[in-house]
């Protein structure tokens, strides 16, 4: 039982990362039906900019940054990466909004390559080490250990997701986003500045991914320029799992994927983990493309 529970916690931590990144995927997809391949790279960018800022303000890589300092770095990084998200949208995607799907997908791959290798040139190819050390202390729940860092991580991502939900449901911008997802041209007829809302969506997506990036840097301790690729694919899987375009679905999808991988690693072995993730993705796309929370689509032949 303790092992079972322990794996559950392990899966929850991975799931929290997937969820945060999946949110950006799902929002962008929901609004402009773009599969933003470069999304995982915002996560990488967040990790690197956070690293650079920490090193800059403390001079020693953040070793002595107080909680307040770290908090500030966290927010500044997320905003910078959010702005980078807007920049990418403006430069690369906006000119192609009406272009064929294939062109924009290829563009996304190009953006992804550019971000990855620009980071490699800027920060080098080797692994960078986050110098912040987290305490190993934690709680023991029925024989399973969960550290305060893990609890903090899960709580923080839950808060971010809750904030997003409130934003989408309660604010005028959130309403506009949902409206654009339904009918873009009707929205521009109704006087909604569609481009601005799309920019905002990219901002929020990149913002959240960057948050996940720093959290991953602090939690795992290393970052490198390719770190966004696989996790981006996994996050997409999570988004599909939950029903793409569905915010709550992305959160649930991330957690489910984290848990599945965690148990899969335990019972099948770590090298089959990705097969499991992609297998689930394919099964869902084929048999229930609308995901766990998606509505049933009409049957067509």
């Amino acid at each position: 039982m303790d092992v079972f529970l322990q794996i559950f916690f392990d899966g929850l931590v991975m799931g929290a990362f997937y969820s945060l990144i999946a949110l950006g995927y799902t929002m962008v997809y929901g609004i402009i039906k773009l599969l933003n391949f470069a999304h995982g790279d915002f996560y990488m960018l967040g990790a690197f900019i956070g690293y650079a800022l920490l090193s800059f303000i403390t001079g020693d890589g953040g070793l002595n940054a107080g909680l307040l300092g770290i908090g500030a770095v966290f927010i500044i990084t997320m905003i910078i990466v959010g702005l980078a998200g807007i920049g990418v949208e403006r430069i690369a995607y906006r000119p192609l909004l009406t272009a064929p799907r294939l062109s924009i997908l290829i563009t996304a791959i190009g953006v992804s390559l550019s971000l990855e290798y620009a980071s490699m040139i800027g920060w080098g190819a080797s692994y960078k080490v986050y110098p912040i050390k987290l305490s190993k202390n934690g709680l023991e729940i029925i024989g399973a250990q969960i550290s305060f860092a893990q609890i903090g991580l899960i709580v923080l991502s839950a808060l971010l997701m809750l904030g997003l939900r409130l934003f989408i449901e309660k604010t005028i911008y959130g309403k506009a986003m949902r409206a654009i997802a339904l009918d873009q041209s009707a929205c521009s007829l109704m006087g909604i500045n569609v481009y601005r809302i799309i920019s905002l969506t990219f901002f929020i997506g990149a913002f959240l991914a960057a948050g996940a990036g720093i959290m991953s840097g602090v939690y795992y301790g290393t970052i490198n320029f390719m770190m966004g690729f696989i996790i981006g694919l996994k996050a997409f899987t999570a988004a599909v799992l939950g029903g793409i375009g569905n915010i709550t679905g992305a959160m649930i999808g991330g957690l489910v994927l984290g848990l599945v991988e965690s148990y899969g690693t335990y019972y099948l072995g770590g090298s089959w983990k990705d097969v499991l993730a992609f297998g689930i993705l394919i099964l869902f796309l084929v048999f229930k493309p609308t995901g766990i929370l998606g509505a049933k689509e009409m049957e067509r032949m």
């Binding site: 049933k296 009409m298 049957e299 067509r300 032949m301």
Partner: protein
């Protein structure tokens, strides 16, 4: 003798009943129409007949063969062709290539023939070219033959779609609002075209149309549906005098 029989057709989208217990027949070598207000379910009926939607229940027969559970491509092969309400040409391809698509189900050369340019393959290609050109001539768009479909004038695109459907050598041709967007002269030309299709090729025509003038002029038989149900049937004169029909249209369209 009837060529198309629809019996107790029903289509349900979730909780919405789009077509309810619809029955009608189309006689061979006639020009018939389905009319009804917007959202009455006309295009849904077409989509079921041509296999794009699977009916919830009911029966559709073409020349005595049941069409239920057939794929659209199989139904086309059985002798039914259609056009679409919002033109669905192959936009980047030349007009000629568009029409050649109709011959696909009437030809059979596979990979082998294509790779080795066998004699039968060459023969078949010649046939495809010939039929496609005939159809293009028939609807009168020869001067646009080599241009991309998307660069054709709107009217020509409408005629081209009909030519493409004719190339499948159908027994019955379903036209979904063929006159939509056409001006007066173009409509007159369309009327001639539909007549010629029936008279020269002996093809039965069933169409959805909103233009009552056009329908009155060429339809021999009309089925009126509203909210997925048949509310009237008969010759144009009979139908247009029907009270239910007038009621259904009242204030909605400039009827008559």
């Amino acid at each position: 003798m009837s060529i198309l029989t629809v019996k107790n057709l029903k289509l349900q989208f979730g909780g919405l009943l789009a077509v309810n217990d619809l029955s009608f027949t189309v006689e061979k070598n006639t020009i018939s129409s389905i009319i009804g207000p917007n959202g009455a379910g006309k295009t849904s009926v077409f989509n079921m007949i041509t296999g794009f939607y699977r009916p919830t229940s009911g029966e559709i027969e073409l020349d005595g063969t049941s069409l239920i559970n057939n794929k659209p491509s199989q139904i086309t092969k059985l002798g039914m062709a259609r056009t679409f309400q919002n033109l669905r040409l192959f936009p980047n391809l030349s007009a000629l290539d568009n029409v050649k698509s109709g011959m696909h189900c009437r030809t059979k050369e596979a990979v082998w023939g294509a790779l080795f340019h066998t004699k039968s393959q060459k023969e078949e290609e010649r046939l495809i070219e010939e039929v496609a050109q005939e159809c293009i001539d028939f609807v009168g768009v020869r001067k646009y033959m080599k241009r991309s479909a998307k660069n054709l004038p709107y009217g020509a695109q409408r005629y081209l779609e009909i030519a493409r459907a004719l190339a499948t050598k159908p027994k019955i041709l379903l036209l979904d609002e063929p006159a939509a967007g056409l001006n007066f002269e173009e409509k007159q030309y369309l009327i001639q075209l539909i007549r010629r299709i029936r008279d020269e090729f002996n093809i039965t025509v069933l169409m959805i149309e909103h233009d009552m003038g056009l329908i009155k002029e060429i339809s021999e038989n009309i089925t009126v549906i509203d909210y997925g149900c048949k509310i009237a049937e008969g010759t144009p004169d009979e139908v247009l005098k029907n009270e239910k029909v007038i009621e259904a249209y009242l204030g909605k369209e400039d009827v008559i």
